[in-house]
Symmetry: none
Subunit: 189 residues, 4 copies
DNA sequence: AATGAATGAGTGTTCATTCAT
DNA sequence: AATGAATGAACACTCATTCAT
């Protein structure tokens, strides 16, 4: 209960001020508890950050898996759904996402490796979808699936930095615009 | 001379360890000078960071301007050249770029505004190219030029995080792959 | 039962890491109980240390008393037996002894006084034996019994720091070597 | 200058309150400087302790060396002079000595090794003197020189704990009493 | 008899910055 | 142009102790 509250508030603070600019004091002050309480639940500031990272990426991976395993979808549809998954997440978990993308540097080597492995898994899944789509002729035969995967992640992840999900474009609309761009390009035929 | 050396080494250190994890002591130690010397050339650590930001974005803006002003280019060509400009920069100024994208948070409000304005200008130029291309029918008529500009920047900026310009894909090849994806999509026609 | 287990394990920890470097957490972790349990049995960390001190010195005093009261022994024999008592204790209660000698500083004033008084009593007994031996002409007539007592304690107590009772010299042999040195010196006659 | 003042005051404080009970704050408060100043001169609290240890043991070793190298002395005289050296030091450097004997535990492994090696060297020199004395028949032929060396150090080092050099017994007198005890024993012939 | 949550004062250490020289 | 001494506020983290249950 308190642990969850600490995590939740920390995410807000890390997003607003950055991990290193946020002190444990800032965190516990925001919750009206003492530092001792923080260290009762977390062994270090870094462990809290690791918790946040794992919660975020594990959740994404699980939801990506559902899409990936759905055999009734074409690869085009799978890509669209993965893009939508990421964009919609900005509304639901935007703060976590921004912390996730920005603060990984503050994990130690071992933790960085763990998180990067999971991050890579997410990317490899996208790469696989592209690869499969090439086989089924949904996609062009000469694509570099690995690089396309990076391209797709670039488009979606960068959105965390600028997209306001409560603005005039809804997450669903944004996802559709990006899907269209990636799938069909912007040049008129 | 010394100032340039400080800037150059700081970029390396900021890239490797992060801005807040790099102390002034680290910087001056790397150059075998003393802290007094640092403060002779820079009024604060933040000012050094601001210098790095301005050098980076001003250089990019200038080079973008040349492309933008070249009336002999189609809008498609302009987009291609801007993408190439950004990707090639990873090889030439990768460290600066990574510092630029990661450490803006450590500027104060006024400096952040100045840098963001320049950043936005860079984006507006891309948006204008897209807008022009729509008018000339090079691009599809129903595009959201603003969002496409964000998409393009997502693809290129994210590359700073993963692209190894000395690997098996050259900057020129990467730029071409991304240009093709953005212009024509990945779906086979 | 539990109290004894806490005391016993604490002695090991205090010996290995030192009193102030050992936290209550360390102690209870080693026993798989919680801090509450510790404070059920001990009112404070210091009281535990005091317990250890008292157990150690009271035991020594009692065993010294037996020697002291044995009227069938000469004073030389009494000295030999006291030296043997202390050296043999290294094998049996080495950890306690080391804690006893090293950590008295961490007792408060009142407790320090109590322990020092008992320590002094131990020393006074040795002094008395020397004094008696002077009267009986066993010992040289011009000895400073008080200082000789300190000398004897120096030899034996310092052994706690270096003597390995399981090495090539047994406690009995060591006690004999030291007895001989103190009684007869090292110069060849 | 300031560094020396810090060291000097720290020795007093460490002696009175113990190393771990003395905070950096205590030290700098006593000198009316700030913690920053402390860390300008010392990289850590432990390094200060190491400095104290090295100053103490290096000084002792150097003075022991002079005695050791003096070929005009018999081995008996060398022992007497080494004992006097240690006892007189209580008056001159008593605080350092007490810190030296009590706080070695607070050095890390590498530093402990360094200090212990020097400590051992001091002891080995005593052992050598005893060994030489056995060869020259000054000392009894069946002595365990190594253990006798420990015995001598026990007598002298323990004096740091109780001897008041300004009391009714002077350092010279104490050294003579102990020399006599060690050389000739206490039993009347 | 024992727990587990919570406290709060304290610890060693870091570091951007200042300033007389 | 450059130094080196000094500052002081902040920081992550520790820990003996308390107490309701």
């Amino acid at each position: 209960m308190i642990k969850e509250k600490i995590t939740k508030h920390s995410i807000q603070l890390f997003e607003k001020k950055g991990f290193s600019q946020t002190s444990i004091q800032d965190i516990v002050d925001a919750l009206d508890v003492t530092k001792g309480t923080f260290y009762y639940y977390f062994s270090s500031k870094e462990q809290l950050l690791m918790d946040i990272h794992l919660q975020y990426i594990d959740n994404l991976l699980a939801r990506q898996q559902v899409i990936f395993d759905n055999t009734s979808l074409t690869n085009i549809e799978k890509l669209e759904k993965i893009i939508l998954l990421l964009i919609k997440d900005i509304k639901e978990k935007g703060s976590s996402g921004r912390v996730f993308f920005r603060e990984i540097r503050h994990l130690n080597n071992m933790n960085t490796s763990k998180v990067k492995e999971k991050r890579n898994n997410f990317r490899f899944r996208i790469e696989e979808v592209v690869q499969e789509g090439i086989k089924t002729k949904e996609f062009q035969s000469d694509l570099r699936a690995d690089i396309i995967a990076f391209g797709i992640l670039g488009v979606t992840n960068y959105s965390y930095n600028w997209f306001n999900p409560n603005g005039d474009v809804s997450p669903e609309e944004l996802a559709e615009i990006f899907s269209k761009m990636i799938l069909h390009g912007i040049v008129s035929e």
